[in-house]
Symmetry: C2
């Protein structure tokens, strides 16, 4: 694995902070500069050892970095990409950790000049917690990380970013930005809205009757509403399509129940059990 | 709490076995007879200490029992209620642990002669495991147990069954059989089918991308398909209605996404978060 002399992390929250800690743990960065908007967050990030030095000035922060990591909320990325583009120089490698990819990759490829390599990343790791004090050096271990590749992406750059994530313990999956967004709509964004809807459908007098099954099913409904509203907005068309597909499936099951077709219902439950058991084998839980 | 001289448990699987262990732990039964169809299960139940003696003959098993517990799958209850009815005598108290209540309670009330008190129970406890070797003496601790009451239920009988469940560590909720079935359709049966559907919607190449959120969300899709097909059949009309309600909600959310109404989406996520946080307060997890 090639290591980096100087890494700049823009945004030192849970993900940015954890990247700093993990890069240091695996000795992949000689020095890490944390860039942010508030001194207090930057101080915390330095205190927990996620970064070595900090700055509020994005231009001076990224100067001379051989790796620049965008780790802000997706909603701020566009603005930051445009702000950073003029100061980046050929040879600098840039990635991000945003949970949607089509828009970000397109904007970065359009904004950055030739010789500046952008490779999108999406580590599927996180927690309900936020901020640098929640950062962990093992956050990415055993998780999946998408790395995006387009017609114009440098293959060497994709290799370096993929190796970095592997070194931090993630399983890497290379996809196009489009395929990424379609997959995460189905495996993450849509299910999130379903979990929240299952909660909203409950009458107040049902709350005390929730058992361990529904408690697990709805755990992610306790996540940050602002963050998930943002993520949903970024991938809205594909999520809407997934929601409609699921709605039709549920209506079909309702019809099976109404005509008492229990054999079809059993087959459907059986098929789901086999697939769910396979998921657990795949992700090693 | 009044204890029982002789308890008969029909069906010594996870729930029946756990009732035996829990009744003994709390010294609520002098002697427990396990009744089943297979010697091997009965032997296992005796070996783990869930019952003191066993029989394949249901009539001799329930004879002289001051408490009879039906702990078989719901699909076998009707037949067993009819088989037991002629041998039960006034003064015997009968309950069950079935996960639907309207049909079972109506059938038992119709079949049992005057003086035999039937009170439906539904302890919302269990696991993916089955059989007497999975039985635990603390299975009901901290769980919710529904106890049903109708116009004809003896209040004293309801009190005794409620006290028993409280003594085993369950929070007791008294409802009518109808209300019970409406609640469990919403908090248990319908979410189960949603979890299975979320799994079935995944393409094979998405399985390895499932993160901790969707893994939790779909955990119950790994449950026994036969058991859940049966449960769904017993409560089909109310589950179908819940599924259609959810389907409409999901289509409404898809419309919000299509017109980019992120403010409404955020409100909906916020409302769900507050309610989900309340659930956790209610059920003390």
């Amino acid at each position: 694995v090639t290591s980096f002399n100087r890494v700049a992390i823009i945004g030192v929250g849970l993900l940015g902070g954890s990247m700093g800690l993990a890069l240091k743990k695996h000795r992949l960065a000689d020095s890490i500069c944390g860039i942010g908007r508030r001194e207090s967050s930057l101080d915390e990030a330095r205190r927990v050892g996620a970064v070595d030095n900090t700055t509020l000035d994005i231009a001076s922060g990224v100067k001379g970095a051989d790796l620049v990591i965008f780790a802000t909320p997706v909603s701020r990325m566009r603005e930051l990409i445009l702000a950073v583009a003029p100061v980046l120089e050929p040879g600098q490698l840039v990635t991000d950790v945003g949970s949607t990819k089509t828009t970000i990759v397109a904007e970065a490829e359009a904004a950055f000049s030739s010789g500046v390599d952008f490779v999108g990343s999406h580590p599927m790791a996180g927690s309900e917690k936020r901020g640098p004090t929640s950062a962990r050096d093992d956050l990415f271990e055993g998780s999946l990380c998408f790395v995006t590749q387009t017609d114009t992406t440098s293959l060497e750059a994709v290799e370096r970013i993929s190796e970095m994530w592997s070194a931090l313990g993630a399983r890497v999956r290379r996809t196009s930005p489009d395929t990424h967004d379609r997959i995460v709509a189905q495996v993450s964004h849509m299910p999130h809205l379903v979990a929240s809807s299952l909660v909203n459908e409950l009458d107040e007098d049902m709350l005390e009757t929730v058992g361990p099954g529904l408690a697990d099913l709805t755990r992610i409904a306790s996540s940050d509403p602002d963050l998930w509203a943002e993520i949903s907005a970024e991938n809205s068309a594909l999520i809407a399509q997934s929601l409609c597909n699921l709605a039709h499936t549920l209506e079909d099951i309702a019809k099976l129940l109404e005509k008492n077709d229990i054999e079809s219902l059993r087959n459907l439950l059986q098929q789901a059990k086999i697939k769910r058991d396979n998921i657990i084998k795949c992700i090693g839980k």
